[in-house]
């Protein structure tokens, strides 16, 4: 055995020979993935380039060509000048309305649903199963059935067309699915932990805040993402239970895009749409990792 052979024995990696990167299988696999990705991304691309073009350039009709002259004018117009009805202060009004609707709705619905789920999972009070069944049943009732009764209810409460009314609606409608989510998560937490906390003298709220909640960060993140995107993207309740002054962003976007007066300003419409979609998108990017972890944690025991 020569010197070089000895060295090669030591330094060479072991195991089977690595496969070629450009194998037939890989080309087909990644080729398909690429085509699908492009298919999904093209609308986004069109929106972005259109929103950066001026109207004369759009009239040329080349929707795929990148902007010759980049302009942020449409974005500014969409945010602060576009008209809906009599108001001409752009999407900014809707944005702030949406923030004022989303933030309290998310907090209220998650706070109540998590306590619901905790009580249902750990404190098996009398009638817990019946209560749970009724709550889950709520998830299967079509929204349309409840729209008009809720209008009457909100009117009688004096909060119809006001922001607190819409917050109440969102909190109620989030309840069944969120309670289910939290209950299922809490049942995966070992029961002995709950028992130990009881022996250690913690009561209902003590166990919830000091033992259960710190262990449940992932599921709270999942709930926050679900609620923020769901409430932010809501259109139906927004259009029914508000008036132009209190329209959420989605309703206002619709009014801008569907406005029939004057010229169709595609660039402004595209910019407005992107602005509206920015919030859920940001939430996804920030919490993507936690989201996946949370979903997995909720699904698999461990």
């Amino acid at each position: 055995m020569t010197e070089t052979q000895k060295n090669s024995i030591v330094t060479e990696p072991r195991g089977p020979k690595p496969r070629k990167i450009m194998s037939r299988r890989n080309i087909i696999l990644y080729g398909t993935l690429l085509v699908v990705a492009i298919y999904y991304l093209i609308p986004l691309y069109v929106m972005i380039v259109t929103s950066l073009k001026g109207m004369p350039e759009i009239r040329l009709g080349n929707i795929f060509s990148p902007p010759v002259e980049v302009t942020f004018e449409p974005w500014i117009k969409a945010w602060s000048q576009a008209c809906t009805g009599l108001n001409c202060d752009g999407l900014s009004r809707g944005f702030w309305n949406s923030v004022q609707i989303t933030v309290p709705s998310v907090i209220v619905s998650i706070a109540i649903a998590s306590v619901n789920g905790y009580a249902l999972a750990n404190w098996r009070f009398k009638g817990a199963n019946l209560f749970f069944t009724i709550l889950i049943f709520g998830a299967f009732i079509p929204y349309q059935i409840m729209i008009y009764p809720l209008v009457i209810l909100l009117r009688d409460l004096g909060i119809y067309t006001k922001l607190p009314g819409l917050i109440l609606i969102h909190s109620i409608f989030g309840m069944p699915i969120l309670t289910l989510l939290f209950r299922n998560y809490f049942t995966t937490i070992p029961e002995e932990l709950f028992k130990a906390a009881r022996v250690d003298g913690a009561r209902f709220w003590g166990i919830y805040f000091r033992v259960m909640m710190p262990m449940s960060l992932p599921i709270f993140v999942v709930a926050i993402i679900m609620q923020v995107t769901g409430i932010w993207n809501d259109f139906l309740f927004g259009v029914i239970y508000t008036k132009p002054d209190t329209y959420p962003m989605t309703v206002q976007l619709n009014n801008i895009v569907n406005s029939v007066q004057g010229v169709k300003e595609y660039n402004v419409n595209m910019a407005a749409t992107l602005l509206t979609g920015l919030v859920p998108l940001t939430i996804y990017f920030i919490s993507g990792k936690l989201f996946v972890r949370g979903i997995a944690a909720g699904a698999v025991k461990g």
Binding site: P190, E192, L193, K195, A196, A197, R198, V199, D200, G201, A202, G206, R210, V211, P214, M215
Partner: protein, 364 residues
């Protein structure tokens, strides 16, 4: 003075009666082991004592105080669980102080108690670690510490060693025994492991189907099991059961089915009742009470056997055989050179055996 007194305790899960009119009293400082196969209600009973399950009927007294409707934390008990049940987000110290903070003790008092407990359990170096960074044995120590800091009268253990490997289990078993000797608290310990029960207990309660079959000192249970189930459960390898009959010809005599062997006079056996007529019975003989070789000649019952399977276990060797078609096994010295197929002279003393009725399986 009794530390724990349970009167007519019943518990149902729906229509299923899990515990049936159970009575139990535990003396102060006693180490009581609840032993039984899974599903016998031993952990359920422990949870009832702890107040983690609401009972349907009966009363529970701890330190002469009726605690039947007390919260678990008000009963003066500390509990150690099988899965350790440490709060994962808290440090070891956080775990130890959780109950003390709930009880709103002063800071100095808390520090003092944590110091004491961690010294006793030798976990002083681990106080700042999270439970995830501990080994199984360390975790269980912290779990015991959590009960220790509360300075309670009664310790409840719910299969605390079942999640540990064999070596660690033995170590911690000794440690628990040492802890008991040092603290002199009342301890109730649930396990399905008869060795743990034998080694730790002052008294063992063997449970089956929500009933206590026998409650006695380990040695008494070992030597005088009340029925065949208890006899089978205690002792490893388990007892031999030979089917046969008792014939009361002036002096009672045991005859093995098929007439393979016969015992001489059994009149010195402590029968619970007089045997007036012939009765079908099980004769229970412990494998470790059987003698092989020349020594066997001195014993009242002796016969020849063929060793079928020989299992060396180090200190002992377990030999499996048959007598009159009935399975028969016994323990011999680990150094013996017996091979399967060898013929052996085997003997035992029937007065050290247990006799059970064939149908009711109760001790006669």
């Amino acid at each position: 003075m009794n530390s724990i007194e349970i009167k007519d305790l019943s518990l149902n899960f729906g229509n299923v009666k899990v515990l049936k009119d159970l009575n139990l009293s535990v003396e102060k400082g006693e180490f009581l082991v609840l032993l039984g196969a899974s599903g016998c209600g031993k952990s359920t009973l422990l949870n009832c004592i702890a107040g983690l399950l609401e009972i349907n009927d009966g009363q529970i007294f701890i330190n002469n105080q009726n605690v039947t409707w007390y919260e678990p934390s008000e009963r003066g008990i500390g509990m150690v669980f099988q899965s350790y049940a440490l709060y994962p987000q808290m440090s070891v110290k956080g775990n130890l102080t959780f109950s003390l903070k709930n009880a709103k003790l002063s800071k100095e008092d808390i520090e003092e108690r944590v110091k004491n407990a961690s010294e006793i359990l030798q976990i002083e170096d681990l106080l700042d670690r999270k439970p995830a960074a501990l080994s199984g044995g360390q975790r269980q120590r912290v779990a015991i510490g959590r009960a220790l800091v509360r300075d309670v009268e009664v310790f409840l253990f719910d299969e605390p060693l079942s999640n540990l490997d064999a070596k660690l289990r033995t170590e911690l078993r000794v440690e628990i025994k040492r802890l008991h000797q040092k603290l002199d608290n009342t301890m109730i310990y649930v396990t399905h492991d008869q060795i743990e029960a034998m080694t730790l207990a002052n008294r063992i309660a063997i449970m089956r189907d929500g009933l206590i079959l026998q409650l006695d000192k380990p040695k008494t249970i070992y030597n005088y099991p009340v029925n065949k189930y208890v006899a089978e459960f205690i002792g490893s390898p388990s007892m031999n059961f030979l089917k046969g009959k008792i014939v009361p010809n002036k002096k009672p005599v045991f005859k093995l089915e098929g007439g393979w062997c016969e015992t001489p006079d059994l009149s010195n056996y402590k029968f619970k009742e007089d045997i007036k007529e012939e009765r079908q019975i099980w004769l229970g003989v412990r494998p470790e009470s059987i003698v092989v070789g020349d020594e066997a000649e001195k014993l009242p019952v002796k016969f020849n056997l063929e060793a079928e399977v020989v299992e060396p276990m180090g200190a002992d060797t377990l030999v499996w055989s048959q007598i009159g078609g009935q399975e028969f096994h016994f323990i011999i010295d680990g150094n013996s050179t017996i091979n399967s197929g060898d013929s052996l002279r085997v003997g035992f003393d029937p007065l050290h055996s247990s006799i059970f009725d064939l149908d009711s399986e109760d001790r006669l």
